[in-house]
């Protein structure tokens, strides 16, 4: 039997997302006769059940007092919870500013009230900082609590593992994009950081740099002699071995 159905249309049926009753009927008949389609429909149904169950704890609980107060309380009496966060300063801001002038690139300097923080600056990332930790431990596509997202990994000409990353900043419409490579001593050396406006993420959920920022990143990739992007499996292997295994 040839496959005359797509996973997306079977999923749409199970999700109850089909508007056309005739289409739904056609797919139901298809599921009845095609064991592969049936198996896929079962899988989708089962995973939807699991997902609902995984997050259903709040459904049996009463409305928490703080939320109750937010809805019924007098305005002004309820403060929105703000978590006081420890601010870690990476390098003195003045130093970073002078580096920015020197290289003519925008660095990740954020101003939030009286606090300032710098997530990514050229040079070695401090090993106790959020950038180092994210690059060292997170699979690509994962965003750390500090807003660092490794995007992909590759090896450069010298055989160093390198990662492209972005940093979600304080500014609503900007992302910092950077490339860092890991030295034999285990330090992540930031080779370049550029700021770019946030663009609509592609179908894979990634926002990418565009325009001048993309050009700068590409030049850096060329300069590094970047090899092909690691597969998720290869990257997982690297993460497991703390990037230290000889290739």
């Amino acid at each position: 039997m040839t496959k005359d159905w797509s996973e997306q249309e079977i999923a749409a049926l199970v999700d109850g997302a089909l508007d056309d009753p005739q289409e739904a009927e056609r797919l139901r008949r298809l599921i009845a006769r095609d064991p592969d389609a049936r198996a896929y429909a079962d899988q989708i149904g089962k995973s939807n059940d699991l997902l609902r169950e995984a997050f259903d704890a709040p459904l049996d609980e009463p409305v928490p007092a703080a939320i109750q107060a937010a809805i019924y309380g007098e305005p002004g009496k309820v403060a929105v919870l703000e978590r006081p966060g420890a601010v870690r300063r990476w390098v003195p801001a003045a130093l970073a500013a002078s580096v920015a002038l020197a290289v003519g690139l925008s660095l990740g300097v954020f101003f939030g009230g009286s606090d300032e923080r710098i997530i990514a600056a050229l040079g070695n990332a401090p090993p106790d900082g959020p950038l180092h930790r994210a690059l060292e431990t997170l699979p690509s596509g994962t965003i750390s609590e500090a807003g660092v997202q490794p995007m992909l990994s590759f090896h450069d000409e010298a055989g160093r593992p390198c990662r492209e990353f972005d940093v979600i900043g304080e500014l609503p419409d900007e992302l910092e994009f950077g490339i860092a490579c890991r030295s034999a001593e285990g330090r992540w050396h930031v080779e370049i950081v550029v700021t770019a406006p946030v663009t609509e993420p592609g179908p894979d959920g990634y926002a990418t740099a565009s325009g001048a920022a993309a050009t700068a990143l590409e030049s850096m990739l060329d300069a590094l002699g970047a090899g092909p992007a690691m597969t998720p499996e290869a990257e997982a292997e690297q993460l497991k071995n703390s990037w230290s295994d000889a290739k």
Partner: protein, 166 residues
Amino acid sequence: MSDDIKAEIAALVPRLRRFAYAICGNREEGDDLVQTACLKALSRLDQYKPGTKLDSWMFRIVQNAFIDSRRRRKPLSEVPDPAFFERQSDHGRAADQSEHRLLLAKVRREIATLPEQQRAVIALIAVEGCSYKEAAAILDAPIGTVMSRLARARARLLPLLAGTRP
């Protein structure tokens, strides 16, 4: 009318908390988001069009509060601690380490590692049962984008769930 709406919002709170939990992966932060969203909603009731779906409107405000909080966020602990999700999974329940419970914890961990937008799509469609059209309206994204994010999220989740018994 304001009191009616308050009662309607209060009735939605359990689902809003579930949605917030799914998108941020953390009960406490989820409740902060719902609280913020309720305050925002009540301060902008004039923007709500009576007759339209209140749940869609509220999901949208929760999702936007989440995006705002991620942008504004000061560094806390940088890497989500898997043990934290485990611990949260037992919240308010017996500490039953059955295989099924571990599986649910695994599902939560896996969801937490999806890109944020895929997480929102999965939470709205698979968890909340929204239609693709509703999800697209809530997330302000074309329906094709929503379907593609959904497909990507599933490509990651289904292998994890394959071969598991309900």
